[in-house]
Symmetry: C2
């Protein structure tokens, strides 16, 4: 699969601390996109000034890695056979004992390049850029495993990010779980080609990723004149269970159409799911109804799911919790598809007590770590992560925490916000 | 090769008039990107309201083409086996006798989609977008042939546009020439893999494109302690001539380092070129020095090139003219790599008389149709196209006009501006 580059000169992916062989952190690194329209001989590079949180690093400080080889700036200036290509990244490693603290940083760069076809008095050309870049801890964590839902990248997928980029972004966080939406991320859904499936598995292996949850829909109001029947709903579930299994997913979240403002699912949900429980067991895929704001944990909808679990005794039907239900502060960023100036119900603070999660944690198979914004200081503005993580610690819950960014869909914002969330969560989960 | 989608809902590529079999123009069409984060069953589409230059077309007016099949809105609502996938475009064709006039239009859309998992009172979801979209004439032209330099797409290449996208954009204009920069657009330059070269030729054929000019550099000041020798310069030229030939290009523009503010080329240019003139003849690739602002046509640099032509008698060394030399109005948009607030010399209006072009047209092999901005009314703000095209008409010049957009490098701007230029030029060149 192909990748594309981030437009900003300093790539978000790859911004990290670096360590010596003995584990001592010795500095930080960043990947730079060629800022000019053409690639150049390495000898034309005049270095990069870097400023991080007000601390300056001169052009001579950085060590350059180009086309797999590493150079000091003087070595690069004298080089004869290495290029900084327009479609390749340069890695600049800056020495700084201890590296950078974890989380977001203000980063500014000025890349200097010589262009002999421009009169000398106007040289070197200087290309400047600045923005926030995030260092994600690579220290071990205990308890839950971390993953990312590609829903987080809705503002980028297919336009400034390929599936391969999404995988590379996730792997770069040290995360291992990938959650996708069948209808968004599987070309040719519901029947992807064998070639695509082979590519999928090869890419997972390359990036060291495990498929977690496959998001699916049962659009009960698919037609305007009648609802889906139980058999039609069950057929869709069976199809998606088989697809999940073929792609390596252990969880399937079917989102049924709703019949109320509180998200009561269409009544076919229970008989339709019951028809495929044996198949789910055969394939070992857990079907997870999603508990999503504005539905709290203590609510007839959730009671219905838990009663179904008890009645059927199935281990292949368990709850998925979206952490948006714990939101304590309103979100006023709007949401695509909704009219401006009117806050949708799911952006109101539902503020479910975290103790409710603890109470029913044994029924919870999967957690989507929904969030809306983490600020430049690394603080989440809406979701209380410390008490949530405390519950997971106390109960020994060790399932997947799958990032689900649901804020504004400007290009690259989701990718940056996911990095911030992983810095935050890994900080809380450190072993 | 892979493509990515334009971020804006209404894609620039594919915006066009449509005609019946007998040639009567019956309406216009546009490609829409799925505005939501997931693909959906066609039955969930509730249509799109379209407004073009203040004229409204209701949701029922448009005919939808999805996955190669065409539907009225009612047929789509009742459909059972077609999807609007997140990674596929929907084509909406709107009837309007006579279509839209050529050039830029203000286009607004509101795409309506149903999501059964959202309470009915908040449905349908409505996704709005607006912007300028350009209809390029598909009528035949006479005289010069039209092409595009990928330099025009510098703000998009590798980040929001692949090489395959660039080819598709050019083909969508009805243009047939593709100009590239070796150091920017050939992965692995100067030694691309055979696999890549095969892909290059296959993509050219698929899009009906002809390689025109390969842009190359001879960076005479490549190292800081000494200049390139004649032999080193000649070796680079030979390498690039062979690459040009292998990729199917008929022209090579080598940009030598300069030694003055007026862009006097480094003196090795003449002996280095002379050493490869036989090779150029063998490969039938014309070497073209570029005449670029601030160097006018009557200038010792150009005199030197023309004298070289006369002295060697070679047909494989001829001039390339960049139309920036005809610029009559200053450009104050700045330029990447140059300090802000100071206008580089090449953005000053050099205003070379068009009669100078006529005078030496027989020495001109290639024209880069440099431009900076064409406004929403389709008018170029800096370059006088009518007299330039008049000269080409009068002299019967029939070489390549290769678009070279050099304005601001915001995403998608170059792609939009190239469409505007082709609408303008095709209007002037209509048979």
């Amino acid at each position: 699969m192909t990748t594309v580059l981030e437009r900003d000169l300093v790539q978000r992916r790859g911004f990290a601390n670096v360590a010596a062989a003995d584990g001592t952190v010795t500095g930080f690194r960043m990947d730079l996109r060629m800022p000019n329209y053409r690639g150049i001989a390495g000898s034309l590079v005049e270095g990069v000034e870097v400023v991080v949180d007000g601390e300056s690093f001169p052009p001579e400080a950085g060590v350059w890695t180009l086309q797999g080889r590493t150079f000091t700036l003087d070595e690069l200036r004298a080089s004869t056979d290495v290029r900084w290509a327009a479609d390749e990244l340069a890695t600049v490693t800056v020495p700084r004992p201890g590296g950078l603290r974890l989380g977001p940083h203000q980063v500014a760069v000025a890349v200097r390049l010589r262009a002999p076809y421009i009169p000398a008095f106007a040289q070197p050309s200087v290309f400047r850029a600045e923005g926030v870049r995030v260092v994600v801890p690579d220290a071990p964590i205990t308890g839950p495993r971390l993953g990312v839902s590609l829903y987080s990248y809705a503002g980028d997928m297919f336009t400034s990010m390929t599936l391969e980029d999404a995988m590379a972004d996730i792997a770069d966080l040290g995360a291992t779980g990938i959650e996708i939406l069948g209808e968004a991320h599987v070309p040719g859904y519901p029947e992807p080609s064998s070639a695509w499936i082979d590519t999928w598995h090869a890419s997972l292996e390359r990036h060291g990723l495990v498929p977690t949850n496959l998001g699916a829909w049962v659009d009960t109001a698919m037609w305007r004149d009648r609802d889906l029947t139980v058999d039609e709903g069950a057929a869709q579930l069976a199809r998606d269970l088989r697809l999940a299994h073929r792609l390596g997913f252990g969880f399937l979240r079917p989102k049924f159409g709703v019949v109320s403002a509180e998200l009561d699912p269409h009544p076919i949900w229970a008989p339709a799911v019951e028809k495929v429980l044996d198949l789910a067991a055969d394939l070992d895929v857990v079907i997870c109804p999603e508990i999503h704001s504005p539905t709290p944990l203590h609510h007839p909808v959730v009671d219905g799911y838990r009663e179904f679990m008890r009645r059927t005794g199935s281990k292949h039907f368990r709850l998925m919790v979206d952490t948006g239900i714990f939101q304590t502060v309103p979100v006023d960023d709007g949401h695509e598809g909704f009219a401006k100036g009117k806050r949708p119900a799911f952006l109101e603070p539902l503020a479910v007590p975290v103790s409710d999660l603890e109470e029913m944690i044994d029924d919870v198979a999967f957690i989507q770590t929904k969030f809306f914004e983490i600020d430049d200081a690394g603080r989440d503005l809406h979701i209380p992560w410390e008490p949530i993580v405390d519950v997971l610690r106390r109960t020994g819950w060790d399932g997947w925490l799958s990032s689900e960014y649901e804020g504004r869909r400007e290009p690259y914002r989701g990718r940056d916000q996911v990095r911030r969330q992983h810095a935050l969560l890994r900080g809380l989960l450190r072993g």
